[in-house]
């Protein structure tokens, strides 16, 4: 059996795919990767399905060892990564040779990093998905000493590519649709919500993330007394203390706090990747514009080939060879961080 052995691991690391759709009526939210775009980017780098499971790392990675030669890709929040002590590029695919140690340190920007393997992780499928759903009692966090089975890789030769990751690792503006409870907020509260800047709080996890307003707390016309309704990832609850709490992949399925609107799927990776202190703004868009943004994002996520490049450039393609640092055919690993800044 091909496998990745876990020598040490950060907190909150789980196996995630695109989650379990269709169980909302049974009280189980879809779950799956917090930054779904990262799954698509990993799939593009390894030329495989975005539905394959990857390891999601919440701010810090771990040390892994391959039981056999395998392809890996690293996506999402850029983290310091080394293979046997040599820095390797993030947002890129590499060969992890048998016995080599892959060491992934803290995130340099953003929060959730992803480790993909050629063929995908082959952990047990439960209720149609490999995703751990800790809030729902499915699966568990990855622990030191675990052996993560890896499926056969049908395409082991495709290796050494990079992708220009879509910038989403430092907060920014997210687009919001009005929902059934938006009218519970007065016009001046909505205007203030769209004008203010919000700072990502330290409270946040796979269920939801809290943001602190720069001004006064927000309140609805009806206080907190709304009837519990179906909630979905992206919903912005205004909780008892007047701060917005954005529901994320592993949220509960019903909620009774008034919701001011819903963040588009296209912008949820930006919410997921904000880390404490990063700032976010909300821009209300109408349903037609929202649908157009979602459609464009789906197209871009599913066909990111324009953003793929070969990681190691051929010498004849490089006009000024001497200006490049060539460290064993590997970049220093911070090129994308510079790209993002």
């Amino acid at each position: 059996m091909r496998a990745l052995m876990v020598r040490s691991i950060g907190p909150g690391v789980t196996v995630q795919d695109l989650g379990r759709a269709g169980l909302l009526g049974s009280g189980l939210s879809r779950g799956g990767a917090m930054d779904r775009l990262a799954l698509y980017e990993g799939a593009a780098l390894l030329r495989q399905s975005p539905g394959l499971a990857a390891v999601e790392m919440a701010g810090f990675g771990g040390v892994f060892e391959a039981s056999a030669d395998m392809r890996i890709a690293l996506t999402g929040a850029p983290m310091r990564a080394e293979i046997d002590g040599k820095a390797v590029a993030w947002s890129a695919s590499h060969l992890l040779p048998k016995g080599a140690q892959l060491s992934i340190g803290p995130a340099v920007l953003g929060f959730y990093g992803y480790l993909h393997v050629g063929g995908g992780f082959d952990t047990p499928v439960r209720l149609g998905s490999r995703s751990a759903h800790l809030a729902g009692g499915i699966g568990s966090a990855v622990a030191a000493g675990d052996t993560l089975p890896v499926a056969d890789d049908p395409d082991p030769g495709v290796i050494g590519f990079g992708i220009d990751a879509e910038p989403r690792f430092e907060g920014g503006t997210v687009r919001v649709l009005c929902g059934p409870q938006t009218p519970l907020f007065a016009d001046n509260e909505l205007a203030r919500f769209a004008a203010e800047t919000f700072r990502r709080d330290t409270r946040g996890n796979r269920m939801g993330v809290r943001f602190l307003p720069s001004g006064a707390p927000f309140k609805s016309e009806v206080g907190l007394s709304v009837l519990s309704e179906v909630v979905v990832p992206g919903d912005i609850q205004i909780t008892g203390d007047g701060t917005p709490f954005i529901l994320m992949a592993e949220c509960q399925t019903t909620g009774g706090y008034p919701r001011i609107g819903t963040v588009l799927h296209a912008d949820l990776p930006r919410v997921a990747q904000a880390r404490p202190g990063d700032t976010l703004r909300y821009e209300f868009v109408d349903i037609d514009k929202g649908m157009a943004i979602e459609a464009a994002a789906r197209k871009d996520w599913q066909r990111p080939s324009a953003r793929i490049r070969r990681l190691v450039r051929l010498p004849e393609e490089i006009p000024d060879l001497l200006s490049y640092q060539l460290i064993g055919g590997v970049t220093a690993g911070d090129d994308l961080e510079r790209h993002d800044q």
């Binding site: 009280g27 009837l227 519990s228 179906v230």
Partner: protein, 253 residues
């Protein structure tokens, strides 16, 4: 549509259809919980499932609304919305029959003791002696009004009016799986261990979520439940008997 007990006779008209996110539609039948609105939500979801409208990917209900998730890549959203509106206008959902294939469950419950320490407190809130409180709950045939918040977790109602007690302002740090908790004329049978503001009055060995079982979510919205009081002694044996926790079920006509 003129049910006399429509929950919102004074307010704006129901049902209301509104988008929820870019790929969802919420059909609300009221802004307060009541038997007609809950019945309407369950019946409309069942009708949507029967209609099988192309482009509707998933349906769910909460206490008084039906949620429809649409295929995100839908090209003709307007057509799907029109078909939903047509079905919605088809009848008065507030007096529609409940979904078919419902079951009546009898679930053994250990009320009070140190296992469910808030029975006396909740009974006092309801103005009842503890034994009368147990009797009141055990003799009320409850409906699963919705499954939600956590996997398989039922919200059951409606208890008699004296049970219209508020949730606690301070959360209980953690109730165990199987805890039976009360507030606002409803009971929750917890499927996960979690903090809660609902008062913990009973314990059952019934598991409402069984991720690896053939039927992971044994209870369905619309099912009915009777909680049968058992002694601490009997409960020990029931606890050892498996995830049904001694529950029995039968089909409802």
């Amino acid at each position: 549509m003129t049910s006399p007990d429509r929950p919102d006779a004074r307010g704006p008209s129901w049902p209301r259809v509104s988008p929820l996110g870019s790929d969802g539609v919420l059909v609300s039948f009221g802004d307060r919980l009541g038997e007609p609105a809950n019945r309407a939500a369950l019946a409309f979801r069942a009708a949507m499932d029967r209609a099988g409208i192309a482009g509707v990917a998933e349906t769910a209900t909460s206490l008084a609304s039906t949620y429809l998730r649409l295929d995100p890549a839908l090209e003709d959203r307007a057509r799907v919305l029109a078909e939903i509106e047509t079905l919605l206008a088809d009848r008065d959902w507030f007096d529609a029959p409940l979904p078919e294939n419902r079951r009546l469950w009898r679930i053994p419950c250990l009320f009070g003791t140190d296992r469910a320490p808030q029975l006396a407190e909740a009974a006092a809130e309801a103005g009842l002696a503890p034994d009368k409180a147990i009797l009141s709950i055990a003799t009320t045939r409850l409906r699963v009004q919705t499954i939600g918040f956590a996997p398989g977790q039922p919200y059951l109602g409606e208890l008699s009016p004296e049970w219209d007690i508020p949730r606690q302002t301070q959360l209980t740090e953690r109730v165990p799986v199987g805890a039976l908790c009360v507030a606002i004329r409803q009971l929750v049978l917890f499927s996960v261990s979690t903090p809660t503001g609902w008062r913990h009055i009973g314990e059952t060995a019934f598991r409402a979520f069984r991720p690896d079982a053939q039927d992971p979510f044994p209870l369905r919205p619309g099912d009915e439940v009777l909680f049968e009081p058992v002694t601490a002694n009997d409960y020990s044996a029931i606890e050892a008997s498996g995830p049904d926790g001694g529950a029995r079920s039968e089909s409802l006509p």
